[in-house]
């Protein structure tokens, strides 16, 4: 009965914590539909390993009220579900931005010290 999956890489663990804020950041200036969002994320090196896992994340963001969805007709194919950031999403992102800045500086300072 050993614990499996404990070997998940460092990168995967780091990603797990920040991915939802990366999604919010992508939605800050424009609404996007799922496929477009996923493609943009996986275009950034190392951000997403399994694209399918972004969809559960999106529905969690929606449940938490950080994004909203609307259906819009597309020129080709069926209507698309567009994701938009909400006011709560904006403030969550802003808060993360500050946390991230402080965190990055803290970690960098420790790592740099290590080098000396």
């Amino acid at each position: 009965m050993q614990r499996m999956g404990a070997t998940a890489g460092v990168a995967a663990q780091l990603r797990r914590g920040v991915l939802e804020y990366c999604v919010l950041a992508l939605l800050l200036h424009e609404d996007r539909y799922g496929f477009e969002l996923v493609r943009t994320l996986s275009g950034v090196d190392g951000m997403v390993t399994s694209e399918g896992t972004v969809y559960p994340l999106l529905s969690r963001l929606k449940k938490d009220g950080l994004v909203s969805t609307t259906w819009q007709d597309s020129d080709a194919g069926p209507p698309r579900k567009y994701y938009a950031i909400t006011a709560a999403g904006r403030s969550a992102l802003e808060q993360f931005r500050q946390e991230w800045r402080a965190f990055r500086i803290a970690v960098d300072s420790l790592l740099e010290k290590e080098k000396d």
């Binding site: 799922g34 896992t53 194919g77």
Partner: protein, 164 residues
């Protein structure tokens, strides 16, 4: 050839995803299947070459992995021991399987129950990142019970007919 999701490989993927998603709530499962279905449809609108479709599905990731991301995430400890009922039924099925005649009619259905219950528990544990040994043992014993009951019935029946 017209298929449900526009491509044979896509249909296969969606079937596997649906099976993996059986552990989710109905609302979550429907939502996930709709989203991934739309993703695949959008991808197929760009290309339908088998290699591209294959690459797109690989990029989506293993269905189990996608479903794990949707799971509310029970702790590995919470799913431990879920396989115990399957193990108990598996043991009973195995013992009963050794009894002639009774074995075939009782051990076979019991074995099936052990296999199904054990497999469900094993899946649940795996989604939570754990390994449930008793669930796997339940599945194995269920199988062995079915095989034993069938073999015993095959060897015994002709003898009985001859003597009867």
């Amino acid at each position: 050839m017209r298929t449900k999701h526009g491509h044979e490989l896509a249909d296969q993927y969606m079937r596997r995803l649906r099976r993996s998603a059986s552990t989710l709530s109905r609302r979550q499962r429907d939502e996930l299947l709709a989203e991934v279905g739309a993703h695949i449809a959008a991808g197929l609108a760009e290309t339908e070459s088998a290699t591209d479709v294959q690459n797109m599905l690989e990029a989506l990731g293993e269905p189990d992995e996608v479903v794990a991301a949707a799971s509310p995430g029970p702790s590995p400890a919470a799913v431990q021991g879920r396989g115990t009922p399957a193990l108990v039924i598996g043991i009973v099925a195995f013992v009963v399987a050794l009894i002639p005649f009774l074995g075939l009619f009782i051990a076979t259905p019991l074995g099936c129950v052990a296999v199904i219950m054990g497999d469900r528990a094993r899946r649940k544990a795996r989604l939570a990142g754990a390994f449930d040994g008793s669930a796997v043992a339940g599945v194995a014993l269920g199988f062995i019970a079915i095989v034993c009951a069938l073999l015993l019935a095959m060897f015994l029946t002709p003898g009985e007919i001859r003597s009867g």
